[in-house]
Symmetry: C2
Subunit: 430 residues, 2 copies
């Protein structure tokens, strides 16, 4: 059974805090193993990559076959049913259209003193996208990682994907083709991240590495951060549904189950002002779980990490929601717009009864790579800005330099940086 | 002597690559020590903080005196000469005015299908700013870290600063007061980062930790990343001056020296199309270094890491500049605007002969926290966006959900996520 909490109960704060701080992932301490793998790839390049790939993935690759040929990509993509390719194309087009609107504007202006000030955005040159093999090998994730990079103007998008026993999900290839991925390598794990960050003769180094992965991939990203940029380190997925009496318990239950079926610590939480809805959803989840092919996985996740919280008001609901800072927040209420501004910490917000979170996973147009594990307190979902960087621009003429000089030299002196002060005063006509 | 390169020489590529990959920092492997410190602070809270602070800083603090009182902050700030406080206020006002222009706009729209899509920006609740003690304890850095947070709307800004032997630079307190820092703690090192990330009874946890520090601070930031957000991990500062025959060798030399005087691996590079300028700058640096109080530090930095590169054209200069991806790029040329678009990777660009980099360190208005160690390939300087996060908004009605359902369910099925598909199809009136 999922836990049931009521904000009116005396021990609510204790139990809610325990829910917040509950650990949903086994934390594997793989830092030392990963450091050794990275050092090996840096030292031995392709030889290390091939050895590690054949050991971990039994993929039977050589340096010559690490990179998929254009022909094998095209063949794999073509083997995907036309309906699926059409759906991926629809998703791509909507994701692309939405992300186009995220492109930042350069801004250069001259202030009252005559100082030119500004910000200019440029694309990262080369990006590496990590795509997991096996269970969580999702074509939608390829789109969600590659399309913002493409929109940003990244010219080189290198994808790495492990191919256990040499096998690859052809839908991944179709998505990569649609998204405009420029190269694909059959390698995964920390060794793939190391190759992307430092380069080997076969895999040229990139500037930024994004995409989800297991504990080894996460540790590798943490270790190469600085050598390259990285995105968030993804944790288990999570949904918070806020519902009032207007919600349909069967629909809410379906959304809670959709999250739980990810397994691996995925969490579904319902907060509702309506006790009867709470009970009805509880029963509905149980009933619908039995209809699911992956019943066992989803049921285990729901029973271990699921929660139903009843509250006295929607105000209390949003207060709790901000403490949870969930990756996904559904507002399954009569007037979702009225709640919107009260939700300050969330990766994405889904408005009203007809917006199941799964629409955002695929074809809504917004990105499904979103901050997990309460990191929506400080982090954003993946977007175009993640593949661009801002350069400051500053320009003085003799008169504006003279106007700023005294304050600058005063601070330089108090900081003991005389050379800084001199670089300014030497330019003044006294 | 700094190294001298010429792009026309046969071994140029080898020597330039060596310059690019040269290590400027001793990499201390302090990960294990830092992990133990973080675990200790998480377990024992203030007791660990006090013990570590008194051991490393001989600061003589107790849990009760870790936090500076408003009176001691005011007293310290008031002890700073009025001219310095006025200069810091000028810097603050200009930094604030420029960063106000970085505030992002929310964007919510309805697309052709009737889907509501959007991005909404909100501020991080609480930020921790690390300020080094000792040599690099700069009031300007307090402003550069705190002002963007304030402009973003961060309500709680907690500053940590080590006070070796109990001493603190009063200019730091003045800057904190001007910038609106809400609390100051006398603690530094990995223990300060741990306290900010996980909280203790005295220091409430924050959501994001920014600011430069030594190897222990850098390792701690890397380890707490995910629990809280972090900014870049700062490396030694660097400047690249691109100059043509119109440049004044004395001014260029002063700028190269200003960077070198940071010490600790700071690097100054000149690229010029003019052989005579190269020689003149070389002599001028030598002459001006002798005038500097910190001559030894700056001379050592210049001789160990400095470089003068002569090239055949400004095109070659910008090509090399993009490979260097310097923190600061000065365009000391006749027509800086003409070069601007060719510089794609740089933390900040300084236009023309009257814009020494030091102006940007203090009072230009742009931020001086910029990407180092070639990370301008993928990272931006600190700004308002670093203290905000973007929440996606998605809203369907029955008709737009129906329009999107088929593609979404198709992808859900190919990904083996039946529960995702069901959460959509259950809402359709068939």
């Amino acid at each position: 059974m999922p836990i049931r909490l009521d904000s009116a109960e005396a021990d609510f704060e204790t139990r809610f805090t325990a829910l917040l701080s509950g650990k949903r992932e086994a934390s594997q301490d793989v830092g030392d193993i990963v450091a050794a793998i990275i050092a090996d790839v840096r030292e031995r390049g392709d030889a290390a990559l091939v050895e590690l790939t054949n050991r971990f993935d039994q993929a039977g690759v050589s340096a010559e076959t690490l990179r998929l040929t254009p022909e094998s990509i095209a063949r794999g993509a073509a083997s995907v049913p036309q309906t699926v390719r059409a759906a991926l194309q629809t998703a791509h087009d909507r994701i692309r259209a939405h992300h186009e609107k995220q492109k930042p504007q350069d801004q250069v202006y001259t202030d009252a003193l005559g100082v030119i000030l500004g910000s200019r955005w440029t694309a990262v040159d080369a990006v590496g996208i990590y795509v997991p093999g096996g269970l969580a090998s999702y074509p939608s994730s390829v789109l969600m990682n590659a399309v913002p990079a493409k929109v940003a103007g990244v010219s080189r998008i290198a994808m790495v994907v492990p191919t256990p026993k040499g096998e690859i999900n052809p839908a991944i290839l179709a998505a990569a083709q649609i998204a405009g991925v420029t190269e694909i390598y059959r390698v995964g794990g920390a060794q793939a991240v190391a190759a992307l960050a430092y380069g080997t003769p076969t895999i040229a180094r990139v500037d930024k590495v994004v995409g989800p992965g297991n504990a080894f991939v996460a540790a590798a990203k943490r270790q190469v951060f600085g050598q390259v940029g990285i995105d968030m380190i993804a944790g288990p997925s999570e949904v918070l549904v806020i519902a009032d009496a207007s919600a349909n318990p069967a629909w809410v239950a379906a959304d809670l189950i959709a999250q739980a079926e990810h397994g691996g610590g995925a969490q579904s939480i319902l907060i509702t002002t309506d006790q009867r809805l709470a009970d009805a959803v509880d029963r509905e989840v149980d009933r619908q779980l039995a209809l699911l092919p992956k019943e066992a996985l989803a049921r285990e996740g729901w029973e271990e990490f699921g929660a139903i919280i009843t509250v006295d008001s929607l105000d209390t609901a949003t207060t709790l929601a901000n403490r949870i800072a969930s990756e996904h927040v559904e507002l399954a209420v009569d007037d979702p717009q009225a709640l919107l501004s009260a939700i300050r910490h969330a990766g994405a917000i889904f408005l009203g009864h007809h917006t199941p979170e799964a629409i955002g996973d695929y074809v809504g147009g917004s990105n499904h790579v979103l901050p997990t594990a309460r990191s929506a307190r400080f982090a954003s979902g993946l977007g175009v800005l993640d593949f661009m960087k801002r350069t400051s621009i500053l320009g003085c003429d003799p008169s504006s330099l003279a106007a700023l000089a005294e304050a600058a030299v005063t601070i330089a002196n108090v900081e003991g940086l005389d050379g800084h002060g001199r670089s300014i005063s030497i330019r003044l006509n006294r």
